[in-house]
């Protein structure tokens, strides 16, 4: 059954008012040649039946008892207050705030979100949200091309491959060429993007250099030097960051980033098999008119009451159509609200605790594996909360442990053939000492 409230009598009354005999008459304008006869879909389910079906599917998943899997998506504590706020129907069952007089809740919360992202990144302006970190990065590259009038982008191979694949798809549209800056993945190498490697690739027609901090291997990149290198070639610096790391790592604004893109999932959003998440984007005020996505600004009404509106809409598709900065319309507002609530709930101290605990447990697991003689760090550079470990016969052991409900991180060989037998292990504040022990024991048992 549908959620329609109409009784047979209601329907009769409406049909009579319209002046047709049956509802079929309202579909008579569909040409007979292409009119569907129906469809073969399953029968309706009652609430208890549909709950059983969804519980069955949820039960088919085996959520690991121990997981060191990250690679762009991280299991963090989602404070109860976050779900309470985003679960409010006033937020969740409204839409894009086209009528600001009855949308001040959504608008002010987006303004607060923009403010929080600016503060976290050290940038001057942040957009209201993008689909995810990968599309935010791709849109940042297109924005850099519009700002510089150039048609080539340079990207470090230590940027998450998921992000680079989306970047490639977006750039294929307008025919923008991508050039790669190889990270040092040699044996005994740093795992980082060397500024001189970037300098060799950056030609005088590159719109931007895209580097990730911490990079896909967890390594801490020399972002200030990379930004200087980019600027020296007349290119913009696009920094892809992980938001919780910004409690400990320098704000991109402080090292000369021109555009910042990030996956906001770690800020109070569950992994949920890949989405919905929220893409963050921040930039300098001077480039705001080339920024894609919605922006909320403060203003006032005729009685001197402060209020918020969607603003600078001349960038957007519903006004500019084919001349818009992007086609983005529906974004990820409720996930942005989750992120704003999360950042407000944890505060500066809480975010630092999350980052510190995550970094400490990542060092703990690396040290424990090394101490047990089961593997060693693949790269020499300092890292944040994710670490690449060389483990002999990694693929087999990873698969065996998965069967036991232990996910030994992310095997890097698929994306980086030169990194055979390398596992990327992520820790968060939810990683316990017992998790570390279970992983070490598991790796030992599969030797």
């Amino acid at each position: 059954m549908s959620y329609s409230p109409h009784t047979a009598a209601d329907r009769e009354r409406m049909l009579a008012a319209i002046g047709v005999a049956s509802v079929d008459d309202l579909f008579a304008d569909i040409p007979a040649a292409v009119r569907a006869t129906g469809f073969d879909l399953p029968a309706p389910l009652t609430e208890q039946e549909v709950r059983a079906e969804l519980a069955r599917l949820a039960g088919q998943n085996r959520i690991p008892r121990v997981s060191f899997l990250g690679a762009g998506v991280y299991r963090h504590l989602v404070p109860a207050v976050v779900n309470e706020v985003i679960g409010r129907a006033e937020f969740s069952t409204s839409y894009t705030p086209y009528q600001p007089e009855v949308s001040q809740g959504t608008l002010q919360s987006i303004y607060e979100f923009q403010s929080l992202i600016c503060e976290l990144t050290g940038m001057e302006v942040a957009s209201a949200s993008h689909y995810d970190g990968a599309t935010a990065t791709a849109e940042a590259a297109l924005m850099a091309c519009r700002l510089t009038g150039r048609h080539r982008v340079a990207v470090s191979t230590a940027v998450n491959p998921q992000v680079r694949r989306v970047l490639a798809t977006y750039c294929a549209g307008p025919g923008i060429e991508i050039v790669e800056v190889p990270a040092d993945t040699s044996e005994g190498g740093t795992g980082l993007t060397a500024p001189d490697a970037a300098a060799r690739v950056l030609s005088d027609d590159c719109a931007c250099l895209i580097a990730q901090q911490p990079n896909v291997f967890g390594g801490i990149e020399p972002m200030a030097e990379l930004a200087d290198t980019a600027h020296g070639a007349g290119a913009l610096m696009v920094a892809v960051v992980e938001p919780t790391s910004l409690a400990l790592l320098a704000a991109p604004g402080s090292y000369g980033a021109d555009i910042v893109a990030a996956e906001g999932q770690p800020l109070g959003i569950p992994p949920s098999y890949g989405g919905p998440y929220v893409g963050l984007m921040a930039a300098r005020m001077e480039s705001v008119r080339q920024m894609p996505g919605r922006l909320v600004g403060a203003t006032r009404d005729g009685q001197g009451r402060k209020g918020y509106v969607l603003t600078l809409q001349a960038r957007e598709q519903h006004i500019r159509r084919e001349k818009a900065a992007s086609n983005i319309c529906t974004n990820q507002a409720l996930c942005a609200l989750a992120a704003a609530t999360y950042l407000s709930a944890v505060g500066p101290e809480g975010l630092r605790e999350v980052a510190d605990l995550s970094a400490t447990q990542a060092r703990h697991v690396a040290a424990a594996i090394e101490a047990a003689g089961l593997g060693q760090r693949r790269f020499s550079a300092p890292y944040f909360a994710e670490v690449a470990i060389l483990v002999p016969d990694a693929a087999r052991r990873h698969a065996t442990l998965a069967e036991q409900g232990i996910v030994a991180g992310f095997p890097l060989h698929t994306d980086y053939p030169e990194l055979a037998d390398t596992l990327l292990l992520a820790a968060t504040e939810l990683t316990t000492d017992a998790d570390v022990e279970a992983l070490v024991e598991g790796l030992g048992s599969t030797r």
Binding site: S2, Y3, S4, H6, I18, V20, V23, F27, V34, A36, L41, V50, L54, A55, L57, G59, N61, R62, L69, A71, R75, V85, A89, E90, F91, T93, S94, Q99, P100, E101, T106, Y111, Q114, T135, G173, L246, A247, L248, L249, E263, Y273, G275, G297, T299, R300, K306, T311, H318, R320, R321, E322, L334, C335, S344, G347, T360, R363, A367, D415, D433
Partner: protein, 545 residues
């Protein structure tokens, strides 16, 4: 999706009341202070444990973060107690209109009821805690759900294949046009086909998407009956046409009654037929675009399949495609790698697992023809859970009833309101009906913006206004199937009241809204002097109102 509202001010046409800005220096009345205003050093909502001594000791031997890369000053995030945090967001929420508070006939957005059981399902730990890179053997439930949802969407739409990956309708458009280009290139016609045709009634996303893909958008006029002008379309189609993007039912709420000829003409020109599926809620069980010859369509799960709109997202914009576009679908696809598809479907429809069935994500690089990835992982999975729950709850019979009742309600409003407002296209509509406020504007100087603001005072969200662009002073009303007859009748009465008020007291309407948390806001000032973030330098004094 693309809902239009022109700026309320800075318009010499006389639309809306002239905005009178308060004197400079006037103190602002604050409805709800910013979260930053209640921040006091040392306040906390959430605390985390300290690292254990074992962890600290082990970590000591590892490299630490170099000073050059460390943050100099902590970010000035708010420091608030949990109750104050909740009160802040709860008070903010009270400033919103929402489906669960009242009628929301925002045309083109399908603001139907978002069932609670869908939310329950999306929060099941077995689904919400599933990591997108978990090995396939651990993610069989997520993969099966995606595969089943794709099967349901295929059956509903008549398409050969589905990609769930696009995150919203406009993202589905981008995906569809990228595939269009890949298709033409595969036939050696990539250079030659450079134009995308869009009707003048189209969503703004359609031409914006064409540009993003490197195509040129060409506008095709509508005919006097509100459909696409077939002669103009035929004249525009040629060897340089990449695709036609057409919304059906159109943004006028009208089914293209020559759709078979439209599709035939596009196919004959060797172009791709793209259907914008934003208005699918009108035609479930009545029209299957794939069967009718379309090559590609995006679904808006947040419209037709009831996932909550969230104040502007997240949505989900899966696409269905024809056989000839299938090789170009984004990667990775969820696949059934062991088991008979018919048996797996049959079992799932009876709530049973299929012994021996196994699902897997397509390997990276397995399909060289793919356009690649349009977002990370496989899509907005949480929306898939809700849409799947909704489709299974309704079943085939329920979904047919959805469209029947949505169309019934829109036609009821069409007939009941046609005495009060001009109806530029007076014919049977589908899920929405577009009126014009031109009579009110010409005779009484009352604009559609004034009418919309007056509706706000009745605790109803106004229809979409000033869209589609081809209707003067447009009012686009989409009641959806979940509003009772009493709600519809009350709306009719309110709209009649506003129409009479336009005749008798037009100046009163120009003052509206009077009962909302704020009145009409100075949008021109917001754009002229952008204030897009909290300024820590000017500490707020807190609430004054």
């Amino acid at each position: 999706m693309s809902v239009l509202e022109r700026p309320a001010t800075g318009d010499a046409s006389g639309r809306g009341a002239a905005f009178t800005s308060p004197e400079a220096g006037d103190e602002l009345t604050i409805i709800e202070p910013l979260i930053f205003d209640s921040s006091r050093p040392g306040r906390r909502a959430v605390r985390f444990p300290l690292p254990s001594s074992a962890a600290r000791a082990a970590a000591g031997g590892q490299p630490s973060i170099p000073e050059a890369a460390a943050r100099a000053e902590a970010p000035r995030l708010p420091e608030v107690a949990e109750l104050d945090l909740l009160r802040h967001f709860n008070r903010l929420s009270h400033l919103n209109h929402a489906i669960e508070l009242g009628f929301y006939p925002l045309g083109s957005c399908t603001m139907k009821y978002n069932p609670k059981v869908n939310e329950w399902a999306a929060r099941l730990p077995g689904l919400a805690d599933s990591h997108p890179l978990d090995p396939d053997p651990l993610a069989q439930g997520s993969l099966e759900l995606e595969w089943l949802l794709a099967e349901l969407l295929k059956e509903m739409s008549g398409f050969a294949a589905i990609s769930l990956q696009p995150a919203a309708g406009a993202h589905g458009e981008l995906t569809g046009l990228l595939m269009t280009r890949a298709y033409h290139r595969s036939r050696g016609e990539g250079e030659q086909r450079t134009k995308v045709l869009v009707p003048d009634s189209s969503h703004g996303t359609n031409p914006a998407t064409a540009t993003m893909v490197g195509y040129t958008a060409v506008t095709i006029p509508s005919n006097a009956r509100g459909g696409i002008d077939l002669d103009a379309l035929r004249a525009a189609l040629g060897p340089d046409t990449a695709a036609l993007m057409i919304t059906n039912p159109s943004t006028l709420g009208i089914f293209e009654d020559q759709i078979d000829q439209v599709v035939a003409a596009v196919k004959e020109a060797g172009a791709i037929a793209y259907m914008d599926g934003a208005n699918l809620n009108a035609i479930l069980g009545r029209f299957r675009p794939g069967e009718a010859g379309f090559d590609v369509m995006h679904f808006n799960l947040h419209k037709t399949f009831s996932t909550p709109h969230g104040g502007g997202g997240p949505g989900a914009g899966p696409i269905g495609v024809s056989e000839r576009l299938a090789p170009f679908l984004p990667t990775p696809q969820p696949l059934l790698v062991a088991g008979d598809p018919a048996e797996v479907r049959r079992n799932a429809w009876s709530g049973r697992p299929t012994p021996g069935a196994r699902f897997a994500l397509e390997e990276p690089g397995a399909r060289e023809t793919s356009i690649g990835k349009v977002r990370a992982f496989t899509g907005n999975f949480g929306m898939f859970v809700r849409a799947y729950t909704y489709i299974r709850s309704n079943g085939g019979d329920g979904l047919r009833e959805v469209s029947n009742d949505a169309v019934l309600a829109a036609n009821y409003l069409r007939v009941r309101l046609s005495d009060a407002f001009d109806l530029p296209y007076d014919r049977i509509c589908k899920h929405e009906v577009v009126f014009s406020g031109r009579r009110q504007k010409r005779q009484h100087g009352v604009t559609t913006l004034d009418i919309a603001k007056a509706i706000l005072d009745h605790r109803i969200h106004p229809p979409t206004i000033y869209f589609p662009l081809i209707v003067e002073e447009a009012l686009m009303i989409e009641p959806t199937e979940t509003e009772s007859l009493e709600t519809l009748d009350a709306f009719v009465e309110i709209m009649h009241g506003i129409a009479s008020q336009a005749e008798t007291a037009p100046d009163e309407l120009k003052q509206a809204p009077l009962t909302t948390p704020v009145g009409r806001l100075d949008e021109a000032a917001a754009a002229r002097r952008p204030d897009l973030r909290h300024d820590f330098a000017t500490e707020s004094t807190g609430a004054t109102g």
